[in-house]
């Protein structure tokens, strides 16, 4: 069924497929690890059992999501070699050590302390358990740091030289790690992960509040999530805008594709709310535009000029339609998140955060929005930097391994079948865990004595704390 596709097309599709699946798990687990650390800290500080029940509730979901993230991540660490070995050989001396740092400083931290966080509260005591929980959160953030350093270097490379054998070799590690797009990308991604988690948490507890608005655990969690929404979304929109300005400086073609700019519009660059970029005619069809807004956003002045696609050779253009629409989807979700956050803030001010059914329903619908936004954002930046793997220096077409198309096709089909089966089942289990109310045992599942066992020592600790 995949005959007729070249090894390159298949390898591109395989990478897009496995990385798109993979990013969903870190997008959730980075935020959830931090949320769990906060819940556990609040439990230790306030000794309010609500926090403990929420911790135990989300801990189980975290375990399943983290497991899926680990196994899909291991696949990623071998994709570079199996399908893109020419890239690996040439870029390895620069990006390889950064990935090694990710494994050494982050993966081991997460994996080493995960067992203690999940199973070890009684065995190691509250303090060390808190430490382990914090280390898992630190590990997920460390992982984001290194992997975004790698990605950003590939987008805005610097601090390297090119050796005789064609390899990119490091000249200045600080310049490589702290390359021009890295700070923006890192902050943007971490905030995206936090928002993704906040909206999932909000949706789950909105569901439970719709069923029973007196559910105290869900009230607490929903309130926390809505604080995140109203406080962090504006910051994220600001950071995203700054990231866009940075991209304009280093990858103007990408921005032109994102905005659907074919021609420089003199001193009034409009902002297209909608349109269909037409690469054939070099125009934006069916454009709905707001005058001056493009100039204002991208140059911070009403009359600023922006380069259009037609000023660059066509061989440098990324696929236009994908970049244009994925960018708009991401931005639209960002503003929808802000809208929900403001709505909740208003409801909170009126003292009716938990008993506006439409607010709760909206929060429920917005549950997956973070995932879609994260995917759309990554598609924008990754498709937008085509045709290059290392921007301006090495093309994707030159990066391919000497693999034969049938091998890539077979493995691609296997990945698709296995991923949909395995991660479909995992998503089903996660949704089922979410469907259960916090603190409600599921008597039909042999679930081990974790919950019962935790309550015992915990009450002892409470009495100790009272001395």
């Amino acid at each position: 069924m995949l005959e007729g596709f070249s090894a390159e097309t298949l390898a591109r599709f395989q990478f897009a497929f496995v990385v798109s699946f993979h990013i969903l798990f870190p997008a959730f687990s980075i935020g959830l690890a931090s949320y769990l650390a906060v819940l556990n800290a609040l439990w230790l500080k306030k000794r309010d059992e609500t926090y403990l029940r929420l911790f135990n509730y989300w801990k189980k979901i975290f375990a399943v999501v983290f497991g899926m993230g680990v196994v899909s991540g291991i696949v990623m660490s071998y994709q570079f070699g199996t399908n893109w070995s020419v890239f690996s050989d040439r870029a390895g001396p620069v990006i390889g050590p950064l990935m090694a740092y990710e494994v050494l400083s982050a993966f081991f931290l997460e994996a080493g302390f995960l067992g203690i966080m999940l199973f070890g509260r009684e065995k190691v005591g509250e303090k060390l358990h808190m430490f382990a929980t914090a280390m898992v959160a630190v590990g997920t953030l460390g992982s984001a740091f290194w992997i975004l350093a790698v990605n950003s270097w590939m987008q805005t490379p610097q601090g390297y030289a090119i050796a005789e054998n064609g390899q990119f070799v490091p000249e200045d590690w600080m310049a490589i790690i702290f390359n021009p797009s890295f700070p923006y990308r890192l902050v943007h991604m971490v905030l995206a992960a936090y928002l993704t988690t906040a909206f999932v948490v909000a949706a789950v507890h909105a569901l439970h509040l719709l069923r029973d608005r007196t559910d105290g655990d869900s009230r607490r969690a929903f309130s926390m999530a809505m604080w995140m929404a109203v406080l962090v979304t504006p910051v994220q929109i600001f950071v995203g805008d700054e990231h866009g300005i940075n991209t304009l400086q280093y990858q103007p073609v990408k921005v032109a594709a994102m905005e659907g700019y074919f021609d420089r519009e003199g001193d009034n660059q409009p902002l297209a709310l909608f349109g269909i970029p037409n690469a054939e005619t070099g125009r934006l069809d069916y454009a709905v535009e707001v005058p001056y807004l493009g100039s204002l956003i991208l140059t911070r002045s009403l009359n600023g000029q922006i380069q259009g696609l037609n000023e660059f050779p066509r061989a440098e253009w990324p696929p236009l339609v994908i970049v244009f629409f994925s960018f708009r989807i991401m931005v639209a979700i960002g503003f929808a998140m802000l809208g929900l956050g403001l709505w909740a803030a208003w409801a909170r001010w009126k003292g009716r955060l938990y008993d506006q059914p439409w607010l709760l329903r909206a929060a429920l619908v917005m549950g997956p929005s973070g995932f879609i936004a994260v995917l759309a954002g990554w598609i924008t930046t990754e498709v937008g930097r085509q045709p290059y793997t290392i921007y301006g220096l090495m093309r994707t077409a030159e990066s391919l391994a000497p693999v034969e198309a049938p091998a890539v096709a077979t493995s691609l089909l296997a990945f698709i079948v296995v991923y949909f089966f395995v991660f479909g089942a995992g998503t089903f289990y996660v949704l089922r865990l979410m469907n259960a109310r916090p603190g409600a045992p599921r008597p039909d599942l042999h679930d081990g004595p974790v919950r019962g066992a935790v309550i015992g020592p915990v009450t002892q600790h409470t009495s100790k704390a009272g001395h």
Binding site: G67, V71, I74, P93, F108, F119, P402, E404, A414, P449
Partner: protein, 337 residues
């Protein structure tokens, strides 16, 4: 950086070998438990077997990422040659590890499909172990290199020798799993595993023997390494050490020791690994690439080494701590899930 390129590359070859060895012995017993899963006599035995590794398997598997990621970082050419050469076994191994990894969580999340994830755990562990063995065999028999890339076809890895090493690793991992369970359990299941360990130990040693006899004839350099004086005086240490371990293994089993059979079985792997190292050195991708040809420039090696020198001891410390926390016999009433 005071160390020269040659020294750095040598140190890194040692570190990568160390990471792979740690992976093999740690994930070896995890995977072995999966391989032995169908032998469990009851659902509660299966729960128990899985719970002996549930808190540590994730950390164990991370060494595989370090092996792969580390190779990419410091020997990018070796990574770029080996991965396409082992395309099918590596991909199959990754898919198998997906099934194995998610089973740890999934099988506690469902009643109806628990058996499905039991089978996934067994199948994933067995196929992953087999593919690792096949990959090892394919590497030992040599990889065709053209220019700076893999020069063979996508089924070159498939030979009777690589199938043999595949079986050897499955049996060997099952041995590690059985001796681990002897260490971690009591009663009927411990007796059952002690019985298996005897046969698996004999099988592992037989397969190690056959593989060791074939290997020197695969690549001429291997033969010289093992059978030419004066070097062979040193290499004779390997079989002698192995004999000591064999004695320790079987006497430990006979005397009802808990830890000794496990440590001896780990010893089989360590000694075999050293043996492979003797055959390979100084090659990293036999028969074409030496560690110096495949290494990244000194600046990459040095930068990565700083991280490894600081972080590997820390990792070993908290890994040891995690094992210490979950030490001792597992209590059947204290499931972690």
């Amino acid at each position: 950086m005071a160390l020269g390129f040659e020294t750095l590359a040598f140190i890194w070859a040692g570190l990568i070998a160390f990471a792979v060895l740690v992976y093999v012995i740690l994930d070896g017993f995890d995977l072995g438990i999966g391989i032995l899963f169908p032998m469990a006599r009851s659902e509660s035995d299966r729960d128990l077997m899985m719970n002996t590794v549930a808190p540590v398997w994730d950390g164990n598997e991370t060494w595989l990422v370090l092996g792969g990621g580390g190779l990419f970082a410091v020997f990018p050419l070796a990574y770029a040659v080996v991965m396409p050469a082992l395309y099918m076994p590596i991909t199959l191994m990754l898919l198998a590890l997906i099934f194995r990894g998610v089973s740890f969580e999934y099988r506690w999340r469902t009643r109806r499909w628990k058996r499905v994830w039991d089978h996934a755990f067994f199948g994933g562990s067995t196929v992953a172990a087999f593919c690792q063995g096949v990959a090892l065999g394919a590497l030992v028999q040599g990889i065709t290199v053209t220019g700076r890339a893999y020069g063979g076809g996508w089924f070159d890895w498939l030979t009777p020798f690589s199938i043999l090493t595949g079986f050897a690793v499955v049996i060997g991992y099952a041995l590690l799993g059985a001796t681990w369970l002897v260490l971690k359990t009591v009663g009927d299941i411990q007796e059952q595993m002690r019985g298996y360990a005897r046969w698996l130990g004999a099988g592992t040693l037989a397969l190690i023997g056959v593989v060791s006899l074939i290997t020197p004839f695969l690549v001429p350099v291997y033969f010289d390494r093992w059978f030419n004086l004066p070097g062979s005086l040193w290499t004779m240490g390997v079989p002698i050490l192995m004999l000591a371990l064999v004695w320790s293994f079987f006497s430990g089993l006979r005397d009802g020791k808990d830890l000794q059979p496990f440590l001896s079985a780990l010893g089989f792997f360590v000694v075999s690994f050293v043996g492979i190292g003797i055959s390979f050195y100084p090659m990293i991708v036999p028969p074409s690439l030496t560690i110096w040809q495949a290494a990244a420039p000194a600046k990459s090696l040095g930068f990565a080494l700083v991280g490894a020198v600081v972080l590997v001891p820390v990792i070993l410390a908290y890994t040891a701590y995690a094992y210490w926390v979950f030490r001792g016999k597992i209590d059947p009433s204290q499931g972690y899930h």
